[in-house]
């Protein structure tokens, strides 16, 4: 008789936000083998970028790769194309881009935290975080004009300027948010029933993280100090004194904590950027066409987002290659699921914050 049980989860499942399918081989409650299938929402964005849209329009197309980190994709693409065209971006525009990126990180991390809380069975906390997330959504709407799909970054600069009234709104709302996040952090830290679901569950060791080239908050929770904000100079992070956050535990709890501390860091970054906001133009003149190859990375809320662009002086690009963070962390996710209890699966998956629309694009 067969000793193991085969349990599939997905592609549609109550604990999954997006379509992904895992199939588990379980021995009693313990998972011994995992297979993942991620390609349910493939839309052919890479092909469309090289055949249907001109290079000036592609920035708006790639923003549709993902709803949660839309601005990351358009920023990364725009930085790449600017490098190919040799455009000098005004300082003020760089700062505004950074602020928009950090706001995006805040709302994405809050969503992830609420989702992990929900999947651990704590729905009241889910409601509460979602309510507080509304603060940052309002800031985003005031700053960029849209709540989710910002379309804020354009080649050469940004689309909308900032004024002192808006600055006041941002400072005010972020101050409020800072308090609320502190309260939420206390809950995540001290709540006994949450700790049962989180502590020492889904552990990824440092060696494992290095071996499967993990990225983003997941790697940092395992003690790997890898953050593209440290490793790239295209947005002025080093000017603002950015410090990356690492934890040693490698379990769900540490991942949540990394995200919570990053929220504080993001809020601080935005406030410092507002303090030192340079005056001047918000967009540079765009002339000519791109030529050459560019490798560009930006730190998305979930990790590193990579764009490879190749162009040869035409209106259409030759190749657009997108690497999204979740795609790179699927092997790590499989490692974390192996050996854990089947009942912990939803919480582990949620703690990886998977974004499948990104992954399959």
């Amino acid at each position: 008789m067969k000793k193991t049980i085969h349990i599939p989860i997905g592609s549609q499942h109550i604990s999954l936000l997006e379509p992904v399918r895992f199939s588990f081989e379980c021995e009693n409650e313990t998972i011994i083998k995992v297979e993942a299938d991620v390609g349910y929402v493939h839309r052919g964005v890479e092909l469309a970028c090289t055949t249907k849209f001109k290079f000036k329009q592609v920035g708006y197309v790639v923003a549709r790769v993902c709803g949660l980190c839309a601005i990351v994709h358009s920023t990364c693409y725009t930085l790449g194309i600017e490098e190919l065209m040799g455009i000098e971006v005004p300082k003020r525009a760089s700062y505004l881009r950074l602020i928009a990126n950090e706001l995006d990180r805040i709302h994405s991390h809050l969503l992830c935290l609420s989702h992990t809380a929900e999947n651990a069975g704590y729905e009241a906390l889910f409601m509460r975080i979602m309510k507080d997330r509304e603060l940052v959504m309002e800031v985003q709407e005031a700053m960029t004009g849209n709540r989710i799909q910002f379309d804020y970054v354009s080649i050469g600069g940004v689309n909308k300027d900032m004024n002192s009234e808006l600055e006041g709104v941002i400072r005010n709302k972020l101050g409020l948010l800072h308090q609320k996040v502190a309260e939420i952090k206390e809950l995540f830290d001290n709540n006994w029933s949450l700790s049962l679901k989180y502590k020492n569950v889904g552990v990824i060791t440092k060696e494992m993280a290095y071996r499967s080239s993990l990225l983003g908050p997941i790697a940092r929770a395992s003690g790997v100090n890898f953050d593209v904000r440290n490793d790239s100079d295209y947005l002025p992070y080093s000017e603002l004194g950015f410090k990356s956050i690492t934890m040693e535990g490698g379990d769900i709890h540490s991942r949540n904590m990394v995200r919570l501390f990053e929220l504080f860091e993001s809020i601080r970054l935005i406030e410092t950027a507002l303090d030192g906001m340079p005056e001047g133009e918000i967009a540079a003149k765009v002339r000519g066409t791109p030529e050459g190859e560019s490798y560009m990375r930006v730190e998305a809320p979930r990790g590193e987002c990579f764009y490879y662009l190749k162009a040869s002086k035409g209106q259409y690009l030759d190749r657009v290659r997108i690497k999204t963070p979740t795609f790179g962390s699927v092997p790590g996710m499989i490692e974390a699921l192996k050996g854990s209890n089947y009942a912990d699966v939803p919480a582990i998956i949620a703690s990886f914050d998977p974004c499948l629309s990104c992954t399959a694009r």
């Binding site: 708006y60 509460r128 509304e134 709407e141 005031a142 004009g145 849209n146 379309d151 354009s154 808006l166």
Partner: protein, 140 residues
Amino acid sequence: MLKAAFNALKNLFSTPATIDYPFEKSPKNKEARGLILFEEPKCIWCLKCEDVCPPGAIRFTQDRESFDYTYHYNPYLCIYCSECVRACPDSAVALSQCNELSPPTDDKNMNDNWFKIEKEAEESKIAVKELKKIKKEESS
């Protein structure tokens, strides 16, 4: 833990954070982006906006006899990026953005008929080019 219990109790008696949506309008920032407005008298028909629009929500068709352009705008394709507003030359400024979103409509030019407009926009321009060429040859 105690704090959380206290909070939960407090939430029992406070007003809901959500709004009664269909009966109440959802709050909108005055800076929010919305539909594109077009003022025909100002337009100099440079077709720059048609060229930059990422989803092709602005289309111009050309009349085959008078060579006049007609402006077509599909509010359901528009992504409110305002790229067209920035592309419109300073000498014209025929486009502007308001913060209203697209309402439900029974405009017959939407849905399947929009494909016809797209096709006509391409074809009419080519046809007019040819017509002009013929005219030039005739006059010379």
